[in-house]
Symmetry: C2
Subunit: 329 residues, 2 copies
Amino acid sequence: MTRPTIRSVAARAGVSKSLVSLVLQGSPRVSPERRAAVLAAVAELGYRPDPTARSLARGSTRAVGLLLDDLRNPWFVDVLDGLRPVLHAAGLRPVLAEARSEPEAPRTFADLRVDGLVVVGTLPDLGLVREVAAGVPTVLAGTRLAPGDPFAVDVVAGDDEAGVRLAVEHLLTLGHRRLAHVAGTGPVGDLRRGAVEDAASAGGAEVVVQTGPMTEDTGHRAGRALLTRPDPPTAVVAANDAVAVGVLAAAADLGLAVPGALSVVGYDDTSTAGLRAVSLTSVDNAAHEVGRLAARRLLDRLADPDAPADLRLVAPRLVVRATTAAPVP
Amino acid sequence: MTRPTIRSVAARAGVSKSLVSLVLQGSPRVSPERRAAVLAAVAELGYRPDPTARSLARGSTRAVGLLLDDLRNPWFVDVLDGLRPVLHAAGLRPVLAEARSEPEAPRTFADLRVDGLVVVGTLPDLGLVREVAAGVPTVLAGTRLAPGDPFAVDVVAGDDEAGVRLAVEHLLTLGHRRLAHVAGTGPVGDLRRGAVEDAASAGGAEVVVQTGPMTEDTGHRAGRALLTRPDPPTAVVAANDAVAVGVLAAAADLGLAVPGALSVVGYDDTSTAGLRAVSLTSVDNAAHEVGRLAARRLLDRLADPDAPADLRLVAPRLVVRATTAAPVP
């Protein structure tokens, strides 16, 4: 099967190609009967306008704004690596901004007349994104809306409940029963914390929680606090890899061997986790696939602006490295 | 002293503010005498048009394209942190692209009608930047042109000869005489290699060199090769921190204690060097200051498009951490 073209739509509807174009542009210069015939042919053939051709026709920029929350977290670059080839193949050109240092970036992108916007990661404030999304097709990638948020927007994200379950069940299988979780803030932090608590209690394990921004410093501080308790945990699930690296540093400060005396699991499986000197067990939440599907979702949205908003979750997997083992009895 | 304004120029020249504006816009509707009077006042007062006001007047975007070679290297984000506040203060808005994955990005920025372009790091190919620079004010940051390159462009970079000297002299002072250098490719790689060889020979030390792209893998491979020689080096100067982390991993593979049996120095002092688990001695080549000065240079260039191209080098400093010590005799 070849992709239906404007020519095949015209043949099916018994009209000219230029009349099909007029209908697709919403021109008022078409009779209701001929409009109905064209739209019926579009539906029967499953025709979708090519976004590149369409944006060229409108004289648009073919640029897509990619708003990344934090350029210091390599996870965002992994998402970008998934987004980029799909956009390139559609003739679209990514331009980037870092959300936490450029809070006005959604407006900048709108002013530069980008064709679309992908917001990657959890922003402190979605207010401006909501405004811009009214005029610019927008997809959220690698984040979740808070429960009950009325923002009707496409979302592609890793399935964090499933990912956290993989991490906790790995530790339970190794024999750990005293767990700790260093939790992040925001919707993703909340989601991961809830999933850790559910999975631990389902396995009959206790879990103590410390919370903070998802940074190495948080991990270091929380790690020291947890590991100097009278009854310290034998394993820590960190909200992300940066936090996990901080926990590892706290263990080293206290002379605790990893994984002999303490197991640590990160989240995101960033390039830091793979560094030989770190070799962190971590949950690969499919950043590349999240990026790829977010780009595809944006192309679909450009082709069909009126489709209902869509939530797509991508399955994660656990990457076991050198920081997890059975607890010493 | 307050900054001269268009009002003070008008007063000095004995003309109206709007006539000064006409002269600055190159309007032909001004007599040669009055033009000369205005330009004399501009020179006497050292007046510079405010680039923001000027770009608003031309109906431009106030966006500045920042082309970063490699988003996985945190050094680029450090440069960005230096650039950003200066651009913001001038009412300019950064948009980013990664050069190695978006070779067409200079053209994208030009098509989006950015007011200026800053190229950060060493690009594999400056061809398109040269073309775009003919129409868009451009500054290179954190890189150098090859010797004799005729490209007349502003450059702001760390003083790599001085930085390498700091690293090598630190090792010589500790007593090392058998050095190795894992060198990078391109003008910056060449410059650093030449400087290592000069500083080593000035100190009566020998140096063996391995070359490759500036990645952890290169460091790991070169490290294994160097450390399994019959007469292995007691210290390695790496082309950058990523390479140094690879060398550390090779030492760990071979059971060589750092810094007991091997000293390692990185370059760039990225956030990786500061991770507690790495704690790498490294040369801070003032990424933040390079960014700050590159942004200032761009503002100057916007204000004075005809000034001659400028090369500015920023002094580096050595950050001694846990990977360097005296060699075991």
